[in-house]
Symmetry: C2
Subunit: 92 residues, 2 copies
């Protein structure tokens, strides 16, 4: 079971609500907020707002990892993009 939320172009609060709902109504113990490229800043914002404004004292950032993905673009060129995974977990 991979409780991942992938951050993209939807309205900001959609993602915050999705994170909060996972912990409150779905009773998740851990979820992973993932993003690539320019959406990385947004993944950090979602994690900060969810943990500090909505789930304060209940959920913390447990781990953050960054990496790179290589892929071929439409012109056949090798392109590198950064990725982030922010693990949020229920306080013990």
């Amino acid at each position: 079971m991979d409780n991942a939320i992938f951050i993209g172009t939807k309205p900001f609060m959609n993602y915050v609500t999705a994170v909060v709902m996972q912990f409150t109504t779905k009773n998740a113990s851990e979820i992973i907020v993932k993003a690539r490229g320019k959406f990385i800043s947004r993944a950090v914002d979602v994690s900060e707002v969810a943990t500090k404004r909505f789930l304060e004292g209940q959920v913390d950032v447990k781990n953050i990892s960054i990496d790179s993905e290589e892929f071929e673009n439409k012109e056949g060129r090798q392109v590198r993009v950064s990725t982030i995974e922010i693990t949020l977990g229920r306080r013990q």
Copy 2:
């Protein structure tokens, strides 16, 4: 001694070069890449390119932390901005 590099609007490679130089010519053992708001994605890119393309096998990501800063904007409203600190360290 705080080896911090703050990511902003300068050309991307300026920051990568600054990071690489700290480790190669200044012989730093650790540096911290810092950014706020939309520059967070860029801080991740700088860290990934510096460690994977230029300092591969020599320097790794040691720690990543995110936080929020509150400040008052020009209209006197309280505003929240996310921050990131990526600690890069020489491989032992």
